[in-house]
Symmetry: C2
Subunit: 468 residues, 2 copies
């Protein structure tokens, strides 16, 4: 097993820096998580000894039992090199350093960071951090020092998230959790003094539980950019790699430097390289979530950019058109013959007020059955590569069954279908009806269009490398 | 009183097109709302007579009592001209036509639309619609045919919304309601055969209960564009007018035409005209909500574009920098002297790991008091026009009091302050703490930056016309 593999499924761990007086200190939060939630034998360390949560505190890691796979270190920065030395003597293969006070604070901390890199290298310790919030694998490993009542933990899923920013990662966790989207792992790499985003791309590339890899990057050190894209190129034919790059503006560069002291590269060059190597670049948090979510569904691909759109509100068709046009997706006009065929299957009472151009506006009078029937015709057209359903459950004729009914129609075609349902508690059951049947749902019209764009971008890449 | 004034505060109304057999028909939903929720004497009309909800149904509007201020018409389109004639004989000054089947379905409906325009003109009836979902004034008038369990109604507030798309309007209502943002009125103008968006701009421009006007537009008929911007120019010095224009893409144009058959103008020309006349143009739903929300707070203005940013997560500073740069907002560097002054007031234990460049990163160790102290110095700087607080309540040192404490500091300065708090139930009380004390809060970092941009755009306009 590699150091990373041991780190992510440790048989025993130590938490260096628990407090015997403050149960809310970062070390104590981590200790309780590992010991009581993850059920991993975990040894608390503090030079003063004593007990924590009824368990013996060891005065140093040297005194703790053997066969520890992971040490989580949360002590003032000046003590970290010494503790890593002890981990080395103890043959502990991996360490997560959550402490801050390294290169992110300037020259003083940079020296200390160099020191811990050297110690880790000398002892062949796989080290994540420093200045990170930790690592989280649902039901398995939680070294986040932020308690669950402050930061939500998503359920188990297939998206692996790697982030250079702890704050950004925390927000994604909240977002995934609030949308019931699962994750396979969440990694805060902090200053990535040693283990960096590329190492995790390689790791998750081979992990069969991971279907989508999502990385937030602010910059690369020397040569790191090239290594990163090459690692992604290796993985991209098998699974989507989504990257959001922060710090592209000039002010962003400055913010980046005071943050993880990473070197923000030229954004245009980076974007071109990302594209060439099959990386799907998101430009903001919304695209990030849209891409991560849609690929977690393992969607069917799009052989072309042509989308058929169905809505019950003309205004939503307009918004979708604008958005799709921005992404280069096309809404081809339906032939007169095809329009007539669609009108034929529509409930007679409402035929007259519906419009069958693309986007199709079934109007607020449409019912489930109209959706089904018209969709069946639309998906059968050879000049349509995918369907976008703008589903406004405000229309009284739309029932809670709509998702399952639509899914039954889509199963008959090898084309991807994405829906939009407003994200409101009262429509939860409608949304679930789609998603449980494999149709990804966007919270906004924009998100649904972005989902299709993500699929199209990936499909193009797979076409280029002859895999579609 | 003008026709619109009578329409929006009617003493008595009639609903033409109630069903005696289907209590869920649009007419019945409208009847129940007006009669039982708004408490307005309301007369149901159906040629068959009978009773509805225990009330006598009149066979025609001619038989109903006199002094009706508003007729809401929900019958198949072919009957609408005749009913409007009856409204004329009955001297009813205003009508809302929710029926579809007019110009939006093509030439057949266009003739019918011309007909109702002529009848309304002949009898001097102020008419809204056809093909609209109605008009809603909180606690006062609700002619929406979508029941409340399908579409939320926001609380009373100061934002007036006018929309060419019923679907778009419905979504904004859901969004305002879910965010506890109040509205002054919501108007679905449908095909705006007679009364159009300009008429409502003028009306709400004079309404002292309206602080912000928000309009969704897909296009203008001949000359309507010029009249619209001129009406806005009249209103803009007094209150912000925010416009979102749909249908700017080519596909969007086609969708627009099958929707309200409005003529989508050249988007570049429109954007230039909007700017010249002091209209704040939003490019998407997110900007729309950000601008509407921030102006509903009547925020302090920004004399320049310089923003001081405080965060507890470096990554969030980076994201804000990128976003602000896109909008032309500047994050000037703080002088070494000012940085030192900030460091001085910070809790000694955490001084060493905080960064006082702009964005300031107080780190996850910061507490309420650090926010207060550093903010006080920042707002006092003469090269800072506004403050952006990226508040991540994940940081354990931040308490539920933070909003009130920060607001107390900002009261001492004539500079606008906008905060970001992630929109999660568990932080509701923190968010309220800010907003009850007059500090607008964005749900996302982007929204908070967009709020500042809205303020800056309006401030520039007011500077140009010598009002700031």
């Amino acid at each position: 097993m590699s150091g990373l593999e041991k780190m992510l499924s440790p048989k025993a761990t130590a938490v260096v820096g628990v407090s015997t007086s403050n149960p809310f200190s970062p070390g104590n939060v981590i200790f309780r998580k590992l010991c009581f939630e993850n059920g991993i034998p975990t040894f608390p360390i503090n030079p003063k000894g004593g007990t924590v949560e009824g368990q013996k505190v060891y005065k140093s890691i040297l005194e703790a039992p053997d066969d520890i796979d992971l040490a989580v270190i949360s002590v003032p920065s000046k003590y970290v090199p010494g503790i890593l030395e002890q981990c080395g003597s103890k043959k502990i293969p991996s360490a997560i350093v959550v402490s801050g006070g390294f290169s992110e604070i300037g020259p003083a901390g940079a020296g200390l960071q160099k020191e811990i890199i050297d110690v880790a290298k000398k002892h062949k310790i796989t080290m994540v951090g420093p200045n990170c919030i930790g690592v989280f694998v649902p039901d398995k490993l939680d070294t986040f020092f932020l308690p669950s009542e402050r930061v939500a933990r998503p359920l188990r899923g297939n998206v692996a998230i790697i982030s250079q920013s702890g704050g950004w990662l925390v927000e994604r966790l909240e977002e995934f959790a609030s949308r019931d989207l699962g994750i396979a792992a969440a990694i805060s790499i902090g200053n990535s003094a040693q283990t960096n985003v590329t190492d995790f791309i390689k790791h998750f590339g081979k992990d069969k539980n991971v279907r989508v890899i999502l990385a937030y990057i602010e910059g690369f050190g020397p040569n790191e950019g090239r290594e990163f894209v090459e690692a992604c190129a290796e993985v991209a034919p098998r699974k989507p790699v989504i990257v959001l790059k922060g710090g592209d503006s000039e002010a962003g560069h400055r913010a980046t430097q005071s943050h993880t002291s990473a070197l923000a590269g030229n954004s245009v060059i980076a974007a071109a390289a990302f594209k060439q190597y099959g990386i799907i670049q998101a430009v903001d948090e919304d695209e990030t979530m849209a891409y991560a979510k849609v690929f977690s569904f393992n969607p069917r691909l799009m052989k072309g950019s042509r989308v058929g759109v169905m809505t019950v509100s003309g205004g939503h068709g307009v918004i979708a058109s604008d958005e799709a046009s921005f992404y280069g997706l096309e809404f081809p006009s339906f032939s007169n013959e095809d329009q007539e065929a669609m009108r034929e299957v529509m409930t007679p009472a409402y035929r007259g007020i519906a419009s069958f151009r693309n986007p199709i506006d079934l109007t607020g009078s449409a019912a489930d059955v109209d959706y089904e029937q018209v969709l069946r015709i639309m998906l059968g057209l050879d000049y349509i590569d995918s369907a976008l359903l703008l589903l406004l459950p405000y229309a009284p004729g739309i029932s809670l069954q709509i998702g399952a009914r639509v899914a039954n129609v889509t199963k008959q075609f090898n084309k991807c279908v994405v829906a939009y349902v407003p994200y409101l508690d009262k429509y939860e059951v409608i949304l679930r009806g789609f998603e449980l049947n494999g149709i990804p749902v966007g919270d906004t019209i924009e998100e649904a269009v972005q989902m299709l764009n993500g699929i199209r971008v990936r499909s193009k890449f797979l076409q280029q490398i002859g895999k579609l």
